[in-house]
Amino acid sequence: GAGVSQSPRYKVAKRGQDVALRCDPISGHVSLFWYQQALGQGPEFLTYFQNEAQLDKSGLPSDRFFAERPEGSVSTLKIQRTQQEDSAVYLCASSLEGQGFSGNTIYFGEGSWLTVV
């Protein structure tokens, strides 16, 4: 597709429910990022993939958060046993860069809005 695509756009989950958020990056993009954006805040880094390898997961807030990108394209962010504090917009982003970071533009999707009730 032309841009980064995320689904679902909106998700309401009951506390304790598991959720899965999907990201389709721009075709051919090597790097993929997940960010969490709480209401009124800037995005905060969760995790980073280079192809299928998860090179940085230092931003994942707890072991209830898990991300994968098994074939180096589509990625899924899974949140187990959701809590109210998990309510946020989850942004996926991708960029062309491979081994070297030359400042290639990072393109963002429109986000998946998660509300935990």
Partner: protein, 116 residues
């Protein structure tokens, strides 16, 4: 580690007036600098970026920013704003290749409200 401070959470301005959105950063290494815009219910769109070279960077929609290393600032400016510029603006930094960190670190955002 890097951090970004956006000094103003909201900036109201009248249409056709100039505007400056302030951004300061801290880092122990050289960084790349970015400004992103977020319209309501949309993802972030890159306005401009500074990697190296000229400290004055021009972006889309008539925006520009100036990198000031001594003041560790990267303020965003536009000489004449339009109603359509109403949005949230985020300053961000990233570490270059030699630190191995690819992620962007964002400020908390500045809401630009353009009034007729």
């Amino acid at each position: 580690a890097q951090s970004v401070t956006q000094l103003d959470s909201q900036v109201p301005v009248f249409e056709e007036a100039p505007v400056e959105l302030r951004c300061n950063y801290s880092s122990s290494v050289s960084v790349y600098l970015f400004w992103y815009v977020q319209y309501p219910n949309q993802g972030l769109q890159l306005l401009l970026k500074y990697l190296s070279g000229s400290t004055l960077v021009k972006g889309i929609n008539g925006f520009e920013a100036e990198f000031n290393k001594s003041q560790t600032s990267f303020h965003l400016r536009k000489p004449s704003v339009h109603i359509s510029d109403t949005a949230e603006y985020f300053c961000a930094v990233s570490a270059p290749m030699d630190t191995g960190r690819r992620a962007l670190t964002f400020g908390s955002g500045t809401r630009l409200q353009v009034q007729p």
